[in-house]
Symmetry: C2
Subunit: 137 residues, 2 copies
DNA sequence: ACCAAGAAGACAAACTTAGTCTGAAAAGGA
DNA sequence: TCCTTTTCAGACTAAGTTTGTCTTCTTGGT
């Protein structure tokens, strides 16, 4: 039950972007070096963030990646969702899933509560909080 | 970021055991039928629960599985730990892991908070709660 | 036109998960 | 003691996921 490495990369990418003034274009190669992420894999990750609307990219010389949402509006939950899809602690908690006894399934209910607690916390934490170190314990 | 199917099986096994009087031996074959779990795989799962001290088993004719801890003392967190090992939302949150800049790693800190919130909720929820349906949202 | 970036998708290696198979060991009864 | 029932243990396998790489294409600026 872990986030994937790619999700961790995504968080680091956003942190790196948030260190520069909002909207500034940063070439992905530079991000890769700063955060020690394999170049090609980083690009795929940026694309997921881009499709989620968190960043935008520009091609060509002087191209790169930039935030389209301010860092204090991007939560950890947003990043996880962008990379891994909707948070689901169990298959039966995925949107669109259905099973015969879903209505009165106690396992589903109990895991749903845990998931809600996790999600609530993840939605409190923004990229800006991470960068600014606002999480003193 | 999901619990494994095996963990879900484990929860169901414990629920099934908790339906009978405490300490009663239930043959694993019966549990498999009741909860629709592949027989061999269930046995492996029972073994993990047994090594974690949550159940004990008896071989031979009239053998089976029984709870060794009362259902209201077994939390969802216990089950996940028994099957998957210590809860870790990210590799760097696993016990025994170390990386150079672990002390001031903001990613680690933020995920640590989320993990603590999740763990707290999981530790509130017992198998007895599930069986008795005490979770009416 | 040329070059520096990102876009896209095929591919592959490594790992994890879910499950099976086979044989052994133990408990109890005949 | 022998037989049956049941768990124990480990090897094995098939499928899926993760984490990348490689190659080719497209775009934008100079």
């Amino acid at each position: 039950m872990q986030i994937t490495r790619q999700t961790e990369y995504a968080i680091k990418i956003l942190i790196e972007l948030a260190k520069s003034p909002f909207g500034e274009l940063i070439p992905s190669k530079l991000i890769a070096e700063q955060q020690d992420i394999p170049g090609m894999f980083l690009q795929k990750t940026v694309q997921l963030l881009s499709r989620a609307g968190l960043v935008s990219t520009q091609r060509g010389i002087q191209g790169g990646v930039r935030l389209t949402v301010s860092a204090d509006k991007i939560t950890t939950a947003d990043v996880i969702t962008a990379i891994e899809g909707p948070l689901a602690l169990n298959l039966c908690l995925s949107p669109g899933y259905s099973c015969p006894n879903m209505a009165d399934c106690q396992v589903r209910r109990i895991l749903g509560r845990a998931q809600a607690a996790l999600l609530h916390e993840l939605q409190q934490e923004s990229i800006a909080d991470i960068v600014e170190g606002k999480l003193a314990k």
